[in-house]
Symmetry: D2
Subunit: 437 residues, 4 copies
């Protein structure tokens, strides 16, 4: 029998203020969306089908906050990603134009912006000064990495008298949002904390696709095309492209099937060996012998089984072994030993991928994320983030998003198609299609 | 109580041949996907919730056709659309590389290619000659419009001894596919007819997004950006952009929220008036007076209520009134009468939008469409098309796709957001949000 | 014997103020640049070689204006062109950062901005508010067409107490600049008038390439590529692209050799016939019969010999016959009569070409134009414009620039290469290579 | 008094065959172009003005080779550069379509392609198989680095019975061309060797701009824009971009003035210090303190005075010290010592810059290079290359091109403008503007 799980969103209190929005758009809090969920998403072993009920995102007829007295704030944390400015713009436009909120503050340089020691100035965000920011990459609020003391953050929020804080950031930021929300609850402060998940790796639990992903894939294919051209241009040419993906290979996989010129794709989800019958190096040699060139796409977190654990950085992220350096050295050594002169060109397009403006698809997506975030905040919801799951916008408890990182399902037809498009032998990758093989 | 409707796909006979594909990827014919469907999609009045069951797309373990004796053919019909070459390429690669099919023929110039009178040559499609076609827009097979006698088409298919015919085209083509399939059934010919829906208007029933749509929107936003620049560049500047959309405003709506510089968006789904309190012209005047410039996006099928019916063209498409000419003339007259000197710049980017290569998103999509089409054909399915409904690939009976044209739901939050982003008064458009207003 | 002609630039008076610029960059007024000039450029019959001497553009050691008391103004007139914002930005940056000028005013909506009746506000231009304008097409100052009374313009300039007026515009604007300069001289007003030639047609006398031309050609090739794709996509497909060029075919010619997919190029400099042995229509028929498709590029001013004269518009520009409409109708009729079913797709990309941001080449060029304009103005030069002739930046008397419009030399190897790349028979075009044929 | 130097092009013998080209396009061998030349270009000390006379490029009325018996070959050597395929295409089209040459061979993998040991196959180049290659980056002939024995090359040329060899390559290739031509002369072999200079660094003597330069700058500005976005996005953000330029800073300089977001530009022509009053590091600190972020563009050959000499690679190129690694380490150390937390993002876009297709400007240029190369070869010229000097196409003896490498004139107004656009203090760079300072 299918298990049914209800997700419920925290609220600051009863919503009694009439929404100023045009009436036709209201969504009912009670109208839950039911979806089949893989038990893995709850961090559980596979134990039969699961149905979860989610709150639909959208404008509510009754608000918790009186718009005319609401003060919003926006902060952007972590690395860049296409579309951040679109989300900021959308929040500001929705708050000002549709809810008539009088003030939206921009916190500069991520969580640092809350800490008096850094003395980063706060920035007033108005429809006028955000109207063209979507034409530029990056974030006009700038960002920073690493945590800051939650008490100090809450102190700052109280000093500024914020009603709703919008936090745009990755896994660490969503965890920080949770702690801040708990600290606010402890202080009985009626402030709403709304998360908008941002990660170039596309690895947020219960989020089918994070914003900026499409744009990143588009730019990644440009780098792969160049790697292919370079590989074709030299005797035994090898083009290697490093793509984002610390714990998951989403960009690498999607870019691979988007361009169709990749011969080997290495992702964190599938371990592999360098030497031996199923090793990358002999397979690469075979490819070069047969076709004269090869293109290799490597997610940055691939092949970590080849390294010893290295501890974590200040933000708590595991320090990754530099797989591309290892691969380049091993490839050089392997072919030098065999006296086969290769020409390897390595491209690391990371900053060129993540700092461009969003494409149309991501723009539309970012626009909705910002609007739904404002709807949620105004209705007094808190401790949640806005997610697109499958093709629906939902409100999701922060706790579900931070439960684990999403990874690519290597038993899926999707991954099967990725492998098929490379021509890479399935046997080369461990943990892939293992159940059926 | 919810009604449950089972869709079933026709087959040519029992599938007894073992598939040569790597085993892990098989999909079970019996594994149906259940989705909530709006009754409108079945052409019915709203009468309570509806659940439909669809066959999941994907490779089948058992095939109807023996790959080594299978001969495929591909034909492309109707207007251009980004991604056609990607679909062709994907069909050829899947058939050759994964099923080891010995021959894929390309029929030139659409259905004309079947008719001996035209003597268009047939083209052998091989992995080598399709390997780079995805870098070019259009279709390497070329296309034509209008129907051809189904008997002659079937005669030609029999002469060529085709096992599976892949038909890439729009509503008319899917209807032709149905007739061809029926003619084949009448002759007891065991040939499979598989459709792949192609329409720049994105208006196929039971298909959430047709291929090329994302790319078209991306290019459309470039035209809108130019219209905005032109509007800003002159006193009382008006930029008008005509976009595709004969019966539906999908591209116009999506491009509008993607760029956020549009002030009026006109689509076929919402009638409007030119004069009077809620007329476009007085609203336009107000906008110009307040802001000095305006951008208008017009789907080509908008405002047809302003014209008398004009009959149909040879392909059976209703001849549309030229709404942009009317608007340009009416705007000129209106402001001339009021002695307000305006500068109107008109952009019709149609052929620039539809003839470019696909972007990454569409490439991935087209790749799957082609693969799933081959899987279906090899398994002996027929009289169906490959669809992406919500975020799932399904096999859909042709009859369901051709039941009606899909239109934009003007009572949705999506359309509400489009209107909100323009600032255009809801009262200006009829039939929009009417239920709740 | 070669005739030597000295061009001399008017000055407001002796330059006695020491320039604040870093010393290494000064250019000597006396250092003239000698160039061989075709007598046509002076509107003369060919009568032997001509040598002209030009003043080199660049910073002068001694200035006429005291920077701390200088007030500049910028106005942009006529149609849009890629790079206008780059020129504005460059003027502002050079004036503020290098000369420490305290104020640069932006006149809005072209010459209208000087006329009180229009009450267009004046805009203060600062390094901060122009710093990112080069990322946008168009002109932040907006523009308008048509002349305004020179006395009123000079009155306005005197009221605002302008020292240097930078006029960015086309042929009409340069003529207006001349009249304004003469009116100032009549009033003994020591104000400098500096022109920066802007025309998408690239037809300014004594200017080898106007800014925005490279960008326009790049965009034009995109439209031609689409026309080619459309032509290939249909039986007897014809793609027709209309490009700018009222009296000269520079964009049409350059885009033709840039993309190499054009089969017929029609420019104002070469008349042609529709019917008859050397007519376009029979040649087009031959091409279609041989290759199945054709691409035609038409400069808007081509084929005017097929029309009666139509008078001039308010700006004094001759009203052109609509050659593309004529061609489309004639082609339709010709092939209909012969019962040959063609498919003609017409693309008019004009506003998409001229309203985009400048590419890198044009940006560099616009940067220098702006700087050299400021250098000239500060040194007290007037009645001149900044030109790039061959590969040198020079100061040019307005009188020389407005003497005539530049046209493409149809006896040159350049035009020969354009024709060769199309495969279009030379005999089809009159006045081309006639001397040698 | 001005010295006059005549450059003369070697010929294989009297040209007696009538050219099949349309007559109007012929250029006279005797028609020399006179240009003022800086003595530095001849490797001489400055000793007064110099005038040189060059042969104009273009079709000749009389040919040395009988087209119907001529066999051409093309080889591409060294690294990739945008536009190589355009040059190949142009050579093939000109030879086939205009001269009716029956055969053009493509030598694969550079000079290796001549050496039997490598057994690289030769490729027949026809109008059909090159017609779309200009839409792709790289070279369809592939390339390799390093020299090969000239005797073996000449042996191979004789075996293949080549009439004209077109060599597309850099400095090393032009030197090889010279040696091959001398070896041919020694053997009294009447074969023509025509060079087409290709270098992404733009450093060929007597060539104003090498093909692909404009495209490379365009792509370089994209990387700089990303670096700027990254720098703005973090507290004390530094964006560093490495650009091509082993001995000259042309790309770095041009990209700097094209985008205007660069704060420090480092090129091989100007040495600099890291520490001390005029050191980069203190200047960088000042910039960060004032503005919060900084963008640094580094030509790969900059700062070599900070390294010990490292010898040369097999191709004879000096091995460069890795200046960016040094800068990144020194910057890290400097600010760590001062306890100023910076965020440095490093972008190396090299392979993304050089492997893209050419833009329109480069396409037109490459088209002419290929045509002029064929004209020269058919006329029996040899030991020369095709150059664009200033704005003229000329034929240049190989000896002049290989005399030295071209470098950026750091005393020019051009370089002054580059520095001015960065705001970088002139005092920071040695050897810049030194004469006047």
């Amino acid at each position: 029998m299918t298990q049914k799980i209800n997700t419920s969103i925290k609220t600051l209190g009863p919503a009694k203020v009439k929404s100023p929005l045009p009436v036709c758009r209201f969504v009912d809090d009670e109208k839950l969306i039911s979806m089949n969920i893989s038990p893995e998403m709850l961090g559980e072993e596979e134990n039969g089908p699961l149905k979860m009920l989610f709150e639909e995102a959208g404008p509510r007829q009754n608000l918790y906050f009186d718009p005319s007295k609401t003060k919003c704030a926006v902060v952007t944390c972590g690395g860049l990603c296409p579309g951040i400015n679109d989300v900021i713009r959308s929040i500001v436009m929705e708050a000002y134009h549709h809810y008539n909120v009088p003030s939206v503050l921009g916190i500069k340089y991520g969580l640092q912006g809350f800490i008096p020691d850094y003395s980063h100035p706060v920035m007033e965000l108005t429809p006028q000064n955000v109207s063209q920011i979507h034409e530029f990459g990056g974030t006009i609020l700038a960002s920073s990495r690493g945590p800051q003391p939650p008490e100090e953050i809450v102190d700052a929020l109280e000093r500024m008298n914020i009603s709703i804080l919008f936090m745009i950031g990755g896994d660490g930021t969503m965890k920080a949002a949770q702690i801040i929300q708990e600290e606010l609850a402890r202080r009985s402060n009626k402030m709403s904390i709304i998360g908008i998940p941002k990660t170039i790796d596309n690895d947020v639990n219960f989020v089918s696709k994070t914003f900026g992903f499409d744009t990143a894939v588009e730019k990644a294919t440009e780098a792969i095309r160049c790697a292919h051209t370079e590989a074709l241009g030299a005797p035994y040419g090898i083009g290697m492209v490093k793509l984002m993906g610390r714990e998951s290979g989403f960009i690498a996989a999607q870019a691979t099937i988007a361009l169709k010129e990749v011969n080997f794709v290495l992702i964190p989800e599938c371990s592999f060996e360098l030497q031996g019958e199923n090793g990358l190096l002999p397979h690469l040699e075979r490819r070069l012998k047969n076709r004269g060139h090869a293109v290799i796409v490597v997610a940055e977190g691939a092949g970590q089984e080849l390294f010893e654990r290295k501890g974590a950085d200040p933000s708590g992220n595991i320090i990754l072994g530099d797989i591309c350096s290892v691969l380049r050295r091993e490839i050089d050594d392997y072919f030098q030993e065999k006296d086969i002169p290769i020409t390897l060109k390595f491209i690391d397009p990371s900053y060129i991928i993540r700092s461009v403006p969003a494409n149309s698809n991501d723009r539309v997506y970012c626009g909705f994320l910002g609007q739904h975030a404002v709807h949620a905040g105004m209705a007094g919801k808190t401790g949640m983030l806005v997610s697109m799951l499958r093709d629906r916008f939902i409100y999701l408890p922060l706790t579900l998003a931070t439960l684990r990182r999403r990874t690519l399902n290597t038993k899926s037809n999707y991954w099967g198609s990725v492998l098929a498009s490379t021509g890479q032998p399935i046997s080369m990758l461990n943990k892939c299609c293992e159940k059926n093989n």
